[in-house]
Symmetry: C2
């Protein structure tokens, strides 16, 4: 049923019709799996789904190496951990940089997608594997947005959820900074209306500039300052008589490096597509508004935020926790690192994940409760 | 001695040699003045200097209309309020968009300047007017940086100071976001190495993109969200099947408007020059470090911050207040508005300014103390 341990495996799920009414044909979803599956694919089992963030991939043992593995908090000796690459990304699942069934690359033919479209694709992926229920879904940032939508779209398929460093909907500030990033890419002369693939020119400068700004929203300002302060890049003098691009502050060089590095591993159109999905993130849409949607949630869900998060400030996680229908627990990462703390603060995350797993083992799931009340046959 | 009330007046101050060793020849400083001068230009008098922020001008009765005027906190019936346009700006004082004495526009011939260079020019301006002492200097953001440097460079010329919403030096986060803005301008194909003036092409797109991001650092994220949330720009559908530039979220349209608006009133090269000056802001440079420099301050100085400031977080004003040699008072603007609160929260600012003025009237200045100890003749 499942692909070989750790290997990148791809599953076809057919067409996906987006929330906004476009159709993506012949969608492939790539995933990786660690740990043996145990239990009932339609009932209680040991699957923990890990959802990656914006530019992440299906290799959770890489980007969350201290959280996923034998003996770790998401213990692959005990749990079957599955991580898919999101719809719209460029790490195997279908996105704008993928081959179109009619030839060429999707490019501008790839529609705008929402977080819900990603979850729809992921649910279809599990259906294709013959799995209709998982023990838990866990994710941060864009991954957390997907987890939240999972609990609202398919509550009967998720026993427990852990949502890290995200909000119930995009805030205007997030949309503001994210649309600025999108524009930086789409106004790059090499963007070519989104059809740059195969032309030998790609909007790397725009993508790098977008990432440079994004990175400042992923990191805490105190951590950045502790690391770089006003230091010059070694061998350069940013205080010279004239400002020049080759005499930089250390932080400027660092951010340029972060931007350039991303262009070597990520596709600009996928970045636009996934960023736009974050702009459209809103659990309240079509559900009577934000708080009503959150209140309707039945899946026991733990919420975690970071005290110095610039992009998803902690009050946004407090907002979710105040309104969520079935709050399992609330926890705060205390760190100068900012948003990325859920990836970086390994020791705090270890405690949070172990606490979450323990709670899932001692708290009845919504389905357990329903069974106890006779609403389900097991 | 002083120009007519309210009128834009320009004073030549000769050459300015910058901290980094370049020379700006034949510098002009533009200013406006409200209220009659009273007192001794070299002793006690009623001059209050107001320092503008990054894209501000000498018309403090415009951008700080609720603070400066007859009967207002900075009461022009009582005080002689003077506001200069900063060196490097484009509102009359010499900057990269000004005429070069040898012909043409300064353009790339204009050197990098620091906050200290601006203060040097301003001190020379007062010298040219025959004034060697003022009652108080007041300013926020880039204006606050100038105030802080005034108190360290010319402590014997300033009786009291009020520093709003700034830090003792640029943080790495600030340098990061500010260099990203500079790059957005200097990588605009119309930048032409900084010599675009008179070519019919100017880097408006780069300047607008820079301002769009900057604006998100000037405003609090909760205020932006309260105003715009996830709303669509009227008549547009940002949730359509495909993302397009003409179907926008309201906040996106607002930020684009802010960006475009700036290009109609501000010069891109001046924006680069002043932003670079903020990058170089560091009161500790050449003074044995930040805290030693602050500790050496003798001018009674009041520090004010904004609790939701993203660009100059409140802990930076706390840092100044903890280390300053002669702290007059500390105050916090409580506002969802963020950094711009010192311009926007008129009622709180009114109380702060009145409190500051009262303190200046009841607290001995450093010079008063020195006189009392026989160090000065009056």
């Amino acid at each position: 049923m499942l692909g070989p341990e750790g290997e990148i495996t791809t599953v076809g799920i057919g067409n996906v019709t987006t929330e906004a009414g476009a159709t993506i044909t012949d969608v492939q979803i790539t995933y990786q799996r660690w740990g043996e599956f145990r239990g009932d694919p339609h009932g209680k089992n040991n699957i923990i789904v890990v959802e990656h963030a914006l530019t992440g991939d299906s290799d959770a043992t890489d980007w969350w190496s201290e959280a996923v593995g034998p003996g770790k908090a998401l213990d692959t000796d005990k749990w079957c951990v599955i991580c898919t690459n999101a719809l719209g990304s460029c790490y195997g699942s279908t996105g704008p940089a993928s081959q179109h069934p009619d030839g060429g690359v999707w490019g501008s033919r790839f529609p705008a997608i929402s977080i819900r479209d990603m979850v729809h694709a992921e649910q279809a992926f599990f259906e294709a594997l013959g799995i209709s229920r998982v023990h838990a879904i866990v994710g941060g940032s864009m991954g957390g947005a997907r987890v939240l939508e999972w609990t609202l779209m398919f509550p009967e398929q998720v026993d427990y959820a852990l949502v890290l460093a995200v909000s119930a909907r995009a805030s205007a500030w997030q949309i503001g900074i994210q649309t600025a990033q999108i524009t930086s890419i789409t106004h790059d002369p090499n963007w070519q209306g989104g059809n740059y693939h195969g032309t030998g020119r790609s909007p790397d400068a725009g993508l790098a500039a977008a990432r440079r700004v994004a990175h400042l929203t992923y990191r805490g300002e105190m951590e950045i300052d502790e690391r770089f302060g006003t230091s010059a890049q070694p061998g350069e003098n940013p205080l010279g008589a004239f400002r020049t691009d080759d005499h930089r502050f250390a932080v400027q060089s660092y951010l340029e490096h972060q931007g350039t590095k991303l262009t070597k591993r990520f596709d600009a159109a996928c970045y636009v597509t996934l960023t736009e999905a974050l702009n459209r993130h809103d659990v309240g849409r079509g559900r009577g508004g934000l708080n009503k949607a959150l209140a309707s949630s039945t899946v026991p869900t733990m919420i975690v935020g970071v005290d110095t998060d610039i992009l998803y400030p902690y009050h946004q996680q407090e907002h979710i926790s105040r309104n969520l229908g079935n709050l399992l627990a609330m926890s705060k990462l205390s760190s100068p690192v900012g948003h990325d703390a859920f990836l970086v603060e390994a020791r705090q995350m270890d405690r949070i994940l172990r606490h979450f797993i323990a709670l899932t083992e001692e708290t009845p799931s919504a389905r357990d409760m329903a069974v106890a009340h006779g609403a389900y046959d097991i």
